[in-house]
Amino acid sequence: MQTDKIRNFCIIAHIDHGKSTLADRMLEYTGTITDRKMQEQVLDKMDLERERGITIKAQAVTIEHQGYELNLIDTPGHVDFAYEVSRSLAACEGALLVIDAAQGVEAQTMANIYLALEHDLEIIPVINKIDLPSANPQRVKEQLLDIGIDPDEAILASAKEGTNIDQILEAIIERVPAPYNGENQPLKALVFDTLYDSYQGVIAYVRVMEGSVKKGDKILLMSNQKSYEVDEVGFFSPAMQKKDELSSGEVGYIISGIKDVRNCRVGDTITLKNNPAAKALPGYQKVQPMVFSGLYPTDNADYEVLKEALEKLQLNDASFTFEPETSEALGFGFRCGFLGLLHMEVIQERLEREYDLDLVITAPSVEYQIIKKNGEELRIENPAAFPEQSEIDKIKEPFVTAEIHLPEEYVGQAMELCQDNRGEFKDMQYIDQDRVTLKYEMPLSEIITDFFNQLKSKTRGYATLDYELEGYKESKLVKLDILINKEVVDALSTIVHDENSYQQGNALVRRLKEVIPRHMFKVPIQAAVGGKIIARVNIPAMRKNVLQKCYGGDVSRKRKLLEKQKEGKKRMKQVGSVEIPQEAFMTVLERDENA
């Protein structure tokens, strides 16, 4: 295809402004999808994505329209996947900016605009959901004017009802610039996502920036210099369709027998072995996990199943790491690394759903740098593995710059929350008259507790959060141990700031008292720092547990109640003589509302 007949674009939107519905409508309108019974929102493939209304993996689809090849790249919509998003945008020349006609410009809309501008994308504003009774497109246009976007360029549409989809397609053709024509240059293809298929190996989603690639070519991955022979190239419609060649400007896939996604990472440049490009495309980085937690099977017998499941998941996700780990309390399990909390939740949910595993998950932690008094340096992401307090000279922890977009009225609450989480104020900017961006420097460890949830609840859901790793800084940190029935439960240890240790120790033992059920005997719960007990509560012994009423017609119902109780017990982890429910290991995360 000639480059002047190609348009590459993405859709960016605040959550729930109708991104996926618009994509579906465009596919239907252009006949890319003929089956009317298609599942809603074709592009979000995983159940999880559909349920949560978020996109986790990038997707691509080629739309043919009036002799043009329109490549739509759907991007993930969460801060955990910021790097993947940036690579998807780098593969495009234009962006549809979807704004809800009733909700108007939101904080995330702004973040998206900045992102698009950063990648030099032509922005086409689409005011969606004009069918809603509460739609107010005029107000949205005024808002656009405020933020420096020409409101006359905006297209009024209803993705739900299919209104003005033709105008949007026309605008893509007219306004999005054609890709640069580099057909005579050596191949440079940007990998913006990968998928693993057990038959074909790694399927690399690529945007060819320069040159071309076809079956039989010997390709070279520029970051690791590994070379492979191409088995197949093609495009998505949205199913994979073979093609003879992918050439400059086009979006599609390359299959070349790569067996491990870690050898073909997002952001890498594919070139030809015999005619390599002089320089890789800019912006490649190997994404590193930032959040770590222990995953343990509730039933130790499931260890092998968990291991196989983790291996399978990793085939598809190079950003997720795991290695074996042993806990005195929890037995054999794995220390896993994730991009962020959402990434962690997604992996956990997939393990529980797709592999039917019952897991105990320890509270997430960051990677600490420890300099011991003897000069030895350690990197530790498991609090249980911390050396003795007396051996430690310094501890450094990762800090991030957090950017919070929110309506002005919530600024006070958000600032308070940041300060409570050891945030240091950096900057505050007005985006428009009632929208604000706050910048804080904060320890990453504070962000990965339930900071985001609290931020959401304190701002009635309006705030959005982005963060970027700044580097490591020294902090006065201590290890907070928890003893249950006089025994240290290593999986409950956390790293906290020295100044907060009493308060957090107290709060934690109280929360554990709430979630650990009574036993036949009294169970003391203690918090300790460096061997010194700083907080204690007792769970009293069970006194009464009996169904007092049990007669004829009711017997089976009572049995079912008992069965439920038993099921609940089974899901607990036996530590010493105490049964600890799974959620106890996550309560470490929570913060007391009134603390």
Partner: protein, 407 residues
């Protein structure tokens, strides 16, 4: 109609699903009482009874229990006709126990006499409390005074009766409960049932409890109340013969005891469940569907009686395959669990030879480790070829019962 084998059943439960108002803790099936509904219902009930009696042959009934709902709302005339009909269609042993549940709010001397004349020989009266505030909280339309008056009347006409008391109410103090208990004991009822307030799904209390509005007393207080009751009742010569039931010698609830012995029983009425030793068959808990099925022409019971036609079984077309029942047959392990925890509810406990004759395997073979563990925790005791709950075991009975659920 599911094919159950009722040949050994000698207990009959009849559900009368009518209440003047619904108590917010109760999850039994009931509808609003009206004379007309009762009349239509009685016709249907007779039909089901006729149908049932054709399926069971020569069963000797030892107990009849008429529960609800609020059976005392219903004119004794209907109860009399019902007992007459049962006696006609079944064989009753001469000393059969015939119990009717009554609510102090809807009973009076005439009705008590009427019930006695109808052949009822045992009443179960829902006293629940002698504290006006607590009665109000429980949605009971009676008062402390009324409860006392009714107990005196019942005591006058019935030698055998039972009174219910509820404890562990929100904000109830140990002293308040002690007062309730003392008042109850001053009447020396032959039988007392004692329940802590349980929060059941689909009740107004359930919603209030989960919204945090209702706070139940601590486990400690709940246990202290129970222990106080057990001690006082024992001191007053009551036998603690089941976790929640106490009686003077010779006054155990015979009907309920058959449930705990895992004996089969028959049942009539919407929501009622019958048991044949392996399967439970439950009638749909919906009066309208029940009436559609058994009284589709909406015939009046009183007319039927005045015609003298109630005895004409041709009127009853019982051959419709029933769509108003669900059948649930127990898996062997479910049966073992139910058998065990029902037996353990009683003071006698679980007899090894009875378990063996039910399941053809020894209880100590199936639950060897469990029994040892429970013994070591002093929740059960073993003696004379049986196991039974200790005093502590009665308070923590669920911990015991859980061990008898097989995977």
């Amino acid at each position: 109609m599911p094919n159950l084998n009722f040949s050994l059943a000698n207990a009959l439960y009849i559900h009368l699903p009518f209440c003047s108002s619904k108590c917010p803790y109760c999850d039994f099936y009931s509808v609003k009482y009206s004379k007309q509904r009762v009349d239509l219902y009685w016709f249907a009930l007779f039909m089901e009874l006729e149908e049932l009696s054709q399926k069971v042959n020569n069963n000797l009934l030892q107990t009849i229990y008429i529960g609800g709902g609020t059976p005392s709302l219903i004119e004794p005339f209907y109860i009399r006709e019902l007992i007459k009909k049962i006696k006609k269609n079944f064989k009753l042993i001469p000393t059969a126990e015939i119990t009717v549940e009554v609510n102090p709010a809807s009973i009076n001397e005439d009705k008590i006499i009427g019930l006695k004349r109808a052949g009822v020989n045992r009443l179960s009266v829902g006293i629940q409390s002698f504290n006006d505030q607590h009665l109000d909280f429980l949605g009971r339309k009676s008062s402390s005074e009324k409860n006392k008056k009714i107990l005196t009347l019942i005591d006058q006409y019935f030698g055998n009766y039972s009174a219910d008391l509820i404890f562990a109410l929100p904000e109830q103090s140990l002293n308040e409960f002690a007062d309730d208990l003392e008042t109850m004991l001053s009447f020396k009822p032959p039988h007392i049932s004692l329940y802590n307030l349980e929060i059941h799904e689909n009740t107004p209390f359930y919603k209030r409890y989960h919204s945090g509005e209702l706070k139940l007393p601590s486990e400690e207080l709940d246990a202290e109340m129970y222990e106080l009751a057990v001690d006082n009742l024992k001191a007053a010569d009551y036998q603690h013969y089941e976790i929640s039931n106490f009686s003077q010698r010779g006054y155990r609830a015979r009907h309920n005891y058959l449930y705990w012995l895992f004996e089969p029983y028959l049942a009539l009425g919407p929501g009622a469940a019958a048991f044949d030793g392996s399967c439970r068959s439950q009638n749909i808990a919906d009066l309208n569907q029940y009436l559609d099925h058994y009284n589709p022409q909406k015939r009046s019971f009183k007319e039927l009686i005045s015609d003298g036609a109630a005895d004409n079984s041709n009127l009853f077309p019982p051959n419709i395959e029933s769509k108003i029942r669900t059948l649930n047959c127990l898996e062997p392990k479910e049966k073992m669990a139910e058998y065990s925890f029902l037996a353990l509810r009683t003071a006698q406990g679980l007899f090894y030879h009875k378990f063996y004759s039910q399941f053809k395997v020894g209880v100590k073979k199936v639950f060897k480790e469990e029994i040892e563990e429970l013994k070591s925790k002093q929740l059960i005791k073993e003696g004379n070829e049986r196991i039974y709950l200790t005093e502590r075991g009665k308070e923590l009975a669920n911990e015991v019962f859980l061990k008898f659920l097989l995977d």
